[in-house]
């Protein structure tokens, strides 16, 4: 706090980190609780697929809905809270990688490849559908 000019900047950065940390906690806890609920007793990692697909949909929707032409006005901090914080914490690439590795290790090569193919396809389609839905809602305003 010795530098009078840098202090407000540092304060803004601290607040931004607070938003991201809080969003990440909400996302991480939601993912954890869903992993307790979504247990089908099969080898296929459904819980991880579910959070990654729904998280991709949410980020695709929100980024367009709150974007420059979007219907929702959101501050930069609110966007960081939802996208970097919540969506980033809610979805996980590391668990996806570990589960795929474990399937390969267990000799379930077919299931591992299926997990990769289905995951990539459904993540991208979900983000795209979210974007399309938001675009649709955004254009309703102007008509």
């Amino acid at each position: 706090m010795t530098d009078g000019k840098a202090a407000p900047n540092r304060w803004n950065t601290a607040i931004l980190y607070g938003y991201i940390a809080t969003g990440s906690v909400v996302g991480g806890v939601a993912r954890y609780l869903l992993s307790l609920v979504i247990q089908f007793g099969t080898e296929f990692p459904w819980a991880t697929l579910f959070v990654n697909v729904t998280g991709s949909f949410i980020i695709g929707f929100y980024s367009t809905f709150s974007g420059p032409d979007g219907r929702l006005f959101a501050s930069a901090r609110q966007r960081q809270f939802v996208m970097t914080g919540f969506c980033g914490g809610y979805t996980t690439f590391s668990t996806f990688s570990l589960e795929t590795f474990r399937l390969l290790q267990a000799g379930m090569v077919q299931t591992a490849y299926t997990n990769i193919a289905i995951s990539i396809a459904t993540w991208l389609v979900a983000a795209w559908l979210g974007h399309l839905l938001a675009n649709r809602l955004n254009s309703l305003k102007r008509s």
Partner: protein
């Protein structure tokens, strides 16, 4: 009866807060250093997170290890690494590349992310097993 549930949840909460902030910090540094025409920042966190999860998974196989206990695992893997790595940004960036007419880069990003991440798990796992 509620104490284990509370401590489990707290482990996830603390790990999540640190993991999300670490992702923003690391991906930001990489993006500023290497440039933002390709999502190197997200690729770095996803691959380094996969390497670490491989290490923790191998450590957890030893019952005497710290990570064989529920709360350290919830903190480090479910919380920290779960939030440190991300699929949502990955999906958004892949679509952005595709929409910008960079179809080749989009496919490359997907292939590199998946191959390097699963490879990184295997490397992390193997390192622990070799040094044991």
């Amino acid at each position: 009866m509620y104490a284990p549930m509370v401590s489990a949840l707290l482990s996830v909460v603390v790990g999540s807060a640190l993991g999300g902030v670490a992702r923003y910090f690391v991906s930001g540094i990489v993006a500023r250093r290497v440039g933002e025409t390709f999502p190197w920042g997200t690729l770095s966190v996803n691959v380094s997170g996969a390497f670490l999860i491989g290490i923790f998974a191998a450590l957890a196989r030893n019952n005497a290890s710290l990570f064989a206990a529920p709360n350290p695992w919830l903190f480090a893997v479910t919380g920290f690494l779960g939030c440190y790595t991300t699929v949502s940004s990955f999906s958004l960036q892949t679509l952005a590349l595709a929409r910008d007419g960079e179809g080749g880069r989009a496919i490359g990003y997907v292939a590199i992310s998946v191959a390097l991440s699963i490879g990184a798990v295997a490397v992390g796992f193997a390192i622990v097993n070799l040094t044991r």
